[in-house]
Subunit: 383 residues, 3 copies
Amino acid sequence: MVRSEAGVPEAGVLEVGALVDHHCHSVVAAELADDALAGLLTESDRPPAPGCSPFDSALGLAVRRWCPPALGLPVHAPAADYLARRRELGAAEATRRLLAAAGLDTCLVDTGLTAAAGRELLPLTELAEAAGAVVREVVRLEAVAESVTAGAEDWPRAVGEALAVAATGAVAVKSVLAYRHGLAVPAERPARPAVVAAAGAWLRGGRGRLADPVLLHHLLWTAVDVCAELGLPLQLHTGFGDPDLTLHRADPSLLTDFVRAAEPSGVPLVLLHGYPYHRQAAWLAQAFPTVYTDLGLTASYTGPRVAAVLGEMLELAPFGKLLFSTDAYGLPELFVAGAAQFRYGLGMLLSDWQAGGACSAPDAQRLARLVAADNARRLYALQ
Amino acid sequence: MVRSEAGVPEAGVLEVGALVDHHCHSVVAAELADDALAGLLTESDRPPAPGCSPFDSALGLAVRRWCPPALGLPVHAPAADYLARRRELGAAEATRRLLAAAGLDTCLVDTGLTAAAGRELLPLTELAEAAGAVVREVVRLEAVAESVTAGAEDWPRAVGEALAVAATGAVAVKSVLAYRHGLAVPAERPARPAVVAAAGAWLRGGRGRLADPVLLHHLLWTAVDVCAELGLPLQLHTGFGDPDLTLHRADPSLLTDFVRAAEPSGVPLVLLHGYPYHRQAAWLAQAFPTVYTDLGLTASYTGPRVAAVLGEMLELAPFGKLLFSTDAYGLPELFVAGAAQFRYGLGMLLSDWQAGGACSAPDAQRLARLVAADNARRLYALQ
Amino acid sequence: MVRSEAGVPEAGVLEVGALVDHHCHSVVAAELADDALAGLLTESDRPPAPGCSPFDSALGLAVRRWCPPALGLPVHAPAADYLARRRELGAAEATRRLLAAAGLDTCLVDTGLTAAAGRELLPLTELAEAAGAVVREVVRLEAVAESVTAGAEDWPRAVGEALAVAATGAVAVKSVLAYRHGLAVPAERPARPAVVAAAGAWLRGGRGRLADPVLLHHLLWTAVDVCAELGLPLQLHTGFGDPDLTLHRADPSLLTDFVRAAEPSGVPLVLLHGYPYHRQAAWLAQAFPTVYTDLGLTASYTGPRVAAVLGEMLELAPFGKLLFSTDAYGLPELFVAGAAQFRYGLGMLLSDWQAGGACSAPDAQRLARLVAADNARRLYALQ
């Protein structure tokens, strides 16, 4: 709910309603040192530059806007005051309060990451309880593949079987190919001999991080097959992320040949984040019935600019193809900020549209409900 | 004219004046099934995804904002009501009313497409009569070339002659190279032997859709020669379009080597649409005297966001180099929406600039007249 | 200071404070013909297209908004009146008035260009006196290299020595690699034999403009070494510029492999301009501690849109990593417009953020001081 500083709903700002967060991660409930906590407020995995703190960013402003009230502090409380209050309450209590304040209805959680800042993430049952939300699992493709122990000859088949097992009961499969090799995926499936040879090389190299393009592309097609079989969507990271990624290789437009090739399978492809290529993602969602898109962590990371960026996304994205997510990871603050930024940003944007005569009140309400929850319920077959 | 919901001009919003639509297509005047009509409100040529309708989009909102009054319905009438009223009036009468409501002064019509949704487009004389507008022809380069019946040896010369014949009396030539191979055109003309060989292969393959890069680049240079001879501008599709196109290959910045190579010919190159690379197109228009640009279908497709997108275009585009167009195709609604969106968007933008002290009232009026009509009149030597 | 048309500070608009211009050039104080002066208001080095004047642009509006009062004319005075008044005062007096009106505290001047429109630029001491500003030198890498007279075998070492001499006492080194070959720099330093061979070819070719990629990449690494030794940042042109540049090759994301490879050196890399890839530059500044970014000439060139573009930059750029600059070159008007556009744009943006509840007043004040001056003082170790 959009609230003024005094805590009452702002007059004239549209209410977005229940939220289905279709892409997020679990959180650390243990105590974190101030630096470790701040380190989860940036895409960088390096120490900050001289004179810089991750709180001095658009995301930092968003966290300081929306989170302090959940811990009994005024909005915009200084970072030091916020961190002190969080320690005073204890991480467990702060986490409980923050997750409850996020007000999420349903969370689809990528279980491919199991720790943040070196601390374990909450198991899904505990996350569900603390958040008061329905929690469902999204299986991370590359993590499943890296855990397969078959030999090279058997590897192509074994990863398919492992993925089918892992994805049974899950609501989607997710690929982080964008981080590993980028999104320029050829239209053709890699040939079996090439996959076996690449698997052999990877196995001989010690089964480290999967980054070979032949293996990655084989995995992607394996995911298409498994998703088609199980009736699941396939999520793909696109756009910005941590320094492991090369930004222009994560432009979702590079996926176009793959999108066309995978179209006959009918598997929905969900382009996560996209920023700063979110207009490209929106075009793909308009052009191809199988493509969906979201704003993901962009809504939190762009802070005061969320309504403008949401506006850019809605220029071409069909209203039935855009989904809300927080991409929260590690910190419960990111659930609060993600949800509040989205409610506030979409509320402001649609109120402006209405005030400017661009749409009617029922149009705005319908669009909000689609993006906030209904598109995700339909796409992931949630109740 | 920008009008409030009650139909009177909005106070304080700048009047844009007469419109020259320098890039559009003709329309279907026959009855269309609801699905076929809706299918002309999206760049997709596929059936909509489950739960989706092309009306649920920024373009859908624009159509429902500007068109219902022309058929005697209130603004934002639901899509079902609008379609019912259109059927009640009959397609011919609805088309007449809508084309008249668009209020266009002059239309430069690309005649390369002759049907939409499987129905014939209105001949130019009938379009002119219904719209009450002067209509002039723009010749589509690839369509002319595909109709040439010469043998391979003769093909290079024959396409030049056919284009010269077709373009005589027309106001411009248009290329859809962006759809066929993308805009990464080398600086050098393809050598004659390579063109003859490629023409031979194309002829042996049954003279289908021209997609060979050697032939496409030969055509582009042929168009430069013919345009130089006849004193015509050359329009190029850039940016988003239907699923046939790969978006990043339609970035107008990829044309830079060609722009430099064609500069001595003096032929104006008009970059259509450009979105989401419209800032790149605007830079080209600033850097190179021969380059012009437009917003085209972007103004309709981005609906409530038109003023923001026009603002982005005007960041670098010289005011004497940006042109209005609707890129309407198939539906008369797209003429209404295209014209109204542009009037409204530019009016709002320039009113804001004035209110914020960024320009004087005469500056705003002059800019509006340049973009709406005067730049096109100068560029295409219209009266 | 943001002033209303009547010359008084606008109520409610945040005061930005002292400005450190970390990237600019000197100006011509001699009389310039009207065409030559207008020619410095565009990135084009060609004559304007028919019917076009560089004053008819967003930059032209900015110049006509901020400069006429410094010469005793009203804001938005027509270009002809402004030019007449400038001639009446004489170029020397107009230059003095304009530089004083810019109100800059410190200017870091790229001395790689020594003339504009065929006239000599003011020496730094005279620029400092007229502007009432501290002036420090930024050494242009490619200009230093082009002046080295060593033979091929000795060239790799000699350019390093020449750069070390030139950069001693300067505050930074600047590269214009984006213009010469683009920013796709490999992660590996070029091997010495390849550099010697390329240097030999360049010397035999008459020591013209350095455009060989092997030599350019060797120079870039030489700059990293010299900057590491002297404790200086390395500035890199990115994004739009004159027609010599191919825009998509100037996307700062293309630098990512080089950024990673240079990270161990600790040398700060300052991405200048960036537009229209400023969001990509901002991501690099967030992901990598060594990367900084600015808006540069974009603030002037985008005229009425400056606040929106600054907003885009601040979506991902850490507040401690964004720097103000004018990139003024040739015309004192560009110092006035650059400074005023930045003060006005950032003031408006932050006032809006505050009014919308996105940040507190102290947050806005602190952000403004960081970007306007404090980040540059810290980065370049200025007093």
